[in-house]
Amino acid sequence: MAAYLQPRALQDALSAMSEGHWTVLAGGTDHFPARVTHIPDEAILDVTAIPELRGISKSNDGIRIGATTTWTDLVEAVLPAACRGLTAAAREIGGVQIQNRGTIGGNICNASPAADGIPALLSLDAQVELASVSGHRTLPLSDFVIGNRKTMAKPDELLVAIHLPAAALTGPGAFLKLGARKYLVISIVMVAGTLDLAEDGTIAKARIAVGACSAAALRMTALETALVGLRPADASEHLNAGHFAGLSPIEDPRGDAAYRSDAAMTLTRRCLAHLAEAA
């Protein structure tokens, strides 16, 4: 029988990871679908019994979301308006069954280009906290997920929490997902955004992220720069294709590359309109 470890203390999990190769298992919603036709001989480290990995806490620095916090936990939490996009993403992931089990940390570590949680987190300037027996380190989410199924986690590191800095939590947030059906659908394109206004009511800072249009979801930095100083209501008129040059969409059964680029612009325009309304 393959090893199955379910430690109750973080240190025990980290010790195990320092000593061997483990498949980390959280909510199982990506783990099991990858094991339908064949279950590899693997040692599993189940991190869901470690209490400190789950839950949402607020401080002056911002919000800490434990890695095994479920989508339902997020939906049911009282969060600032900036997190509306994150909550909306949580509500649109799979069905309620998936939301009840799937975790935000698992969504990040699985690193699917179509991971529903990542664009909203990027639009909140999320940082990820990694732990190993050597200690903790924190890096921006945008530097952590680097490609299709690729992250910067070292073999002995565990994602323990996501931090949303207070500075990104002041304005409204929004998230739009495009799929070919209503429920249980993998995104064709996603856009998430947050908006901070200056005292004169113009845009001081916009954070716009697009998912499923590149190997890893991306912030649209050129667009964000272009939006500064505009009135929110005018923002959606200022888009151009150059703002999305960083995207490299693929063709798959859900859509072709040209469509994804086109839809990314449309969704971004609508996302900005939502944000303007809320601002």
């Binding site: 199955y4 099991f32 069954q97 998936i98 009840n100 429920y183 249980l184 059964p253």
Partner: protein
């Protein structure tokens, strides 16, 4: 681990990573929880864990440790009475095949614990993680919203009033309390577990290595069977002269997923599907023939020796002179349309078990066609048919996909050769790769109409991709030309078809046998023709509708039960309302445009110009109980209930006196296949005749007249005629082997005549007619389509059970919507239920059903079929609505967002030029 399941404390020892679904089903024997995908895509395995709905297939046992689990078996009251949510499902007809029902019930339970009076949206959100392929979801939503009313169960109808009553499904309780046994719910503990080695290539030669050595050194492997182990013929196929598919390929394969060997494991491997990648086989792949254009190319490899040019078969119907009529028509509209492979996506994968008993073999499998299974097994084992017994399990959805062989032949071969009970279950990717699909089509057509709006001529050619093997390809090629003209008067028709072999998956039977594809083409031309002559699209169809006494393109005069005009008349106010609503909505600017569309159809019930008999028997026991020997397999559509309703009225007995022996080839007569929308019409008539036969015997016994009343009591039948009452003491009669003292038998074969070379003849004894309208909203910037509402008008002859008829319509619309907007099977790319999309709760329109009853004189109480007719007009109505909203004539389905967006853009570009 320790879990409390339905109030019972269990301590068990298992691998921490074992799926909770397998713990429940295999370790605790709670098979009420169903497994459809093992990937969280279908939600069939939904259970409550500490009060929250979860997919049991995604929960490792270790995470369930210490939790409280509720499964469907835990819903009913302690005395076995159904709970409020189960009863609501029962009275609303919310369960059809029942395979998704446990998951639906558990998700509903989760919702209702929080919100006793949920809104539609709340129900959809809460149950949205469970897929249903039968119901179209509407009756499930209605049931969940009605739980709090605690309304009583529908009353059993009085004697003589069963036909037409909304009887709750007579086999319904087992689908609600988890006791119904599907293909994977009853395998014996000592059964070997079979897995198939399949080709990863669409076209390849292969050589097997030392399979015996592999078997000897592989853990848990009891045996390997290859083509040389097959006792009889290594071939199967629907048509006796077209058995072109091997049970196990011998040296080359023609499609991805084709079977080459059977591996028998001692038990089901605990680590799910044990590694069979090491199986010794060497592949030499070739360039695959993909699509019919490739199959028809002069230099294409010949895929079957008997089929030069890769054409399996051609079909033709010709009447009048279509070419001349088109040349002189005021308007000619032409079009070209394509459809792709469509997967049945029943939630229950293929499954069953088999054993050898003495010199016979017995199979218990999920099937639509036990008699054909019996004959095919006999052929492959080299046995007489009487030495094969097939007992259908409950069927968790079929839609034509379980009209073909899947697990039956490997199970029979292994049980016979190894002389051990054997069981198997396809996993979802295997189910999708290995089994049949809807035929992709490439249709070109021209429709001619005169200036006054009268149809003149149709020229139609459909090329159908029949994939690697014939399967039901000849049926499609034959049925399509007959139906191509649609339900309209068309004096000049040339309609041809060809079924072409390729290296695609075998295309087989799928709800409609090619007619839905043909209807997409001709209905789109009908819309454009209406515009050309300046007539409203409904009015144009009504003007050209077939009516009683008209002659069809096959030369058949249809005298009765031609209800299309009635359907259209009843739709008129709804159509006007939809058009108004669209016009109002479109006054606002913005990217979302509203459109309205209409689709019509006709559908011949039963086989095309072939014998199609059904035999039913009704026994009367000495204790006064009635037994219907019903071989018409219920795949969720309701033959268990319908046949009993017909029998009850034809005999003059109350419905609740009838018990049934169901679908057992040893005990029921051959009622034919559950296909071609034939069971209500054909087997229903046989049931009626069986009951009338028994009634006649009882009347003869007492010299009573036709109108005498029968009263069935314990051990006695009273025959009452006015004041005259005579008792038949049943114990004085001699019982047969079944325990029946009297048996009525009924047989019905709908009268048809063969078609000649021009397709002239009488292909069907009756036709169903329908028209559906749809209102859609198109987001023109994103290319997405939301079907908001539909009205479906169906001439069913007589609605034997209106609740079941509505259920068929809702479910047919769901599949038609999937065909139109999202479903496309791509071998190797969409072999699961998250890349292959079927409609969810949130994708369905609000549907209103209008049941038109233009009685069919041949049918039981006037009834004809509804199963396939429900699906055929849906895609045309939706496509017409998209065109109305955007101007785009969609040349291809599914209308995926990226396709529609591209068509809209190119139309805008053309307009700009």
């Amino acid at each position: 681990m320790r879990i409390i399941v339905n109030g019972t404390d269990h301590t068990l020892s298992c691998d921490g990573g074992r799926r909770l679904s397998r713990v429940l089903r295999e370790d605790l024997g709670l098979t009420g929880t169903k497994v459809g995908c093992d990937a969280g895509d279908c939600g069939a395995c939904t259970v409550l864990m500490d009060g929250r709905q979860v997919c049991a297939c995604l929960v490792p046992a270790a995470q369930a440790d210490g939790s409280v689990i509720t499964t469907v078996e835990g819903l009913a009251e302690e005395d076995g009475r159904l709970s409020a949510v189960q009863r609501a499902f029962h009275r609303h007809g919310a369960a059809q095949c029942g395979i998704c029902t446990p998951g639906m019930l558990m998700a509903a339970q989760d919702l209702l614990a929080r919100e006793l009076h949920p809104s539609v949206r709340q129900v959809q959100d809460a149950l949205g993680g469970v897929l249903c392929r039968c119901t179209g979801y509407q009756k499930i939503v209605e049931a969940v919203m009605d739980v709090s009313s605690n309304a009583p169960d529908p009353a059993m109808p009085e004697s003589g009033a069963a036909v037409g009553a909304r009887v709750a499904r007579l086999d319904g309780v087992g689908k609600l309390d988890g006791r119904e046994l599907y293909g994977d719910d009853q395998r014996p503990a000592d059964a070997l577990w079979l897995r198939i080695i399949r080709s990863p290539h669409a076209f390849a030669h292969f050589e097997l290595g030392d399979v015996d050595a592999w078997a000897a050194t592989s853990s848990g492997v009891a045996a390997v069977l290859t083509a040389s182990d097959i006792p009889g013929a290594n071939s199967f196929g629907i048509y006796p002269t077209l058995k072109d598919q091997p049970v196990l390929a011998e040296s080359f394969v023609r499609y991805r997923g084709e079977a080459v060997a059977i591996v028998a494991f001692e038990t089901r491997p605990a680590g799910e599907e044990t590694d069979i990648a090491s199986f010794p086989v060497t592949w030499t792949p070739h360039d695959a023939v993909v699509g019919t254009e490739a199959g028809l190319r002069a230099d294409a490899p010949r895929l079957h020796d008997d089929s030069p040019g890769n054409v399996l078969i051609r079909g033709r119907v010709a009447s009048g002179d279509a070419d001349a009529a088109l040349a002189s028509a005021a308007h000619v509209i032409s079009g070209e349309f394509r459809t792709g492979f469509v997967e049945h996506a029943y939630i229950e994968p293929e499954s069953g078990w088999a054993r050898k008993i003495g010199d016979r073999v017995e199979l218990r499998v999920s099937t639509q066609t036990p008699y054909m299974d019996r004959d095919e097994v006999a052929h492959v084992l080299g046995l007489e048919q009487t030495r094969v017994r097939v007992i259908p399990s409950a069927v968790g959805g079929g839609f034509g996909g379980k009209l073909d062989q899947s697990v039956q032949l490997p199970l029979a071969v292994a049980a016979w050769v190894l002389n051990r009970p054997v069981a198997m279950l396809y996993h979802r990717p295997e189910s999708m790769a290995a089994t049949t699909k809807r035929h992709p089509s490439h249709i070109t057509a021209k429709l001619g109409v005169d200036a006054a709006g009268t149809l003149q001529a149709l020229s139609f050619h459909g090329v159908f991709d029949t994939g690697a093997y014939a399967s039901w390809g000849p049926t499609v090629a034959g049925r399509v030309p007959v139906h191509a003209p649609g339900p309209y008067r068309l004096p000049h028709v040339t309609a041809t078809s060809a079924a072409v072999y390729t290296n695609g998956p075998p295309s087989g039977a799928f709800r409609g046998f090619g007619v839905p594809q043909a209807a997409i083409a001709t209905e789109m031309l009908m819309d454009q023709a209406a515009d050309c002559v300046g007539l409203d699209r409904l009015e144009f169809r009504l003007r050209n509708a077939l009516r009683a006494g008209d002659r069809t393109a096959t030369g058949q005069v249809i005298d009765a039960s031609v209800g299309l005009a009635a359907c259209l008349e009843q739709l008129k106010p709804h159509w006007a309302r939809y058009l108004d609503e669209a016009a109002t909505a479109n006054r606002a600017s913005g990217p979302v445009r509203t459109g309205v569309g209409i689709g019509c159809m006709w559908y011949g019930c039963g086989n095309t110009a072939l014998a199609n008999p059904s035999i039913m028997r009704l026994g009367l026991r000495a204790d006064g109980r009635l037994t219907l020997y019903n071989g018409a397999v219920d795949i969720g559509q309701g033959t268990y209930t319908i046949m009993a309703q017909i029998v009850a009225d034809a005999l003059g007995a109350p419905l609740d006196r009838i018990t049934q022996v169901f679908g057992d080839t040893d005990r029921t007569a051959d009622a034919g296949k559950t296909s071609a929308s034939r069971q209500t019409f054909v087997s229903g008539k046989a049931s009626e005749l069986a009951a009338r036969d028994l009634r006649a015997q009882l009347l003869r016994h007492t010299n009573a007249g036709e109108d005498a009343e029968l009263v069935f009591d314990d051990g006695i039948v009273m025959v009452i005629e006015g004041d005259r009452r005579r008792a038949i003491e049943l114990s004085t009669l001699i019982a047969n082997d079944d325990g029946d003292v009297l048996t009525g038998e009924g047989s019905f074969d709908p009268p048809t005549e063969p078609l000649d070379a021009n397709g002239q003849g009488i292909p069907y004894a009756t036709y169903a007619f329908a028209a559906q309208i749809a209102l859609v909203r198109v987001d023109t910037e994103l290319g997405t389509v939301k079907v908001e509402k539909m009205v479906a008008a169906h001439d069913v002859g007589r609605a034997v059970n209106p609740t079941l008829v509505e259920g068929q319509i809702h479910g047919g619309i769901a599949q038609g919507l999937g065909l139109a907007l999202m479903e496309e099977y791509l071998p190797g790319r969409t072999e699961n239920l998250h890349d292959y999309l079927i409609p969810t709760f949130g994708d369905m329109p609000q549907i209103e059903c209008l049941l038109i009853e233009d009685p069919e004189p041949l049918g039981p109480y006037g009834a004809k079929g509804i199963g396939e007719p429900a699906l055929v007009p849906t895609a045309p109505a939706i496509l017409g609505a998209i065109r109305h909203a955007t101007g785009v004539v969609c040349p291809q389905v599914p209308v995926l967002p990226h396709r529609l967006r591209a068509w809209i853009k190119s139309q805008n570009a053309e307009a700009a030029e």
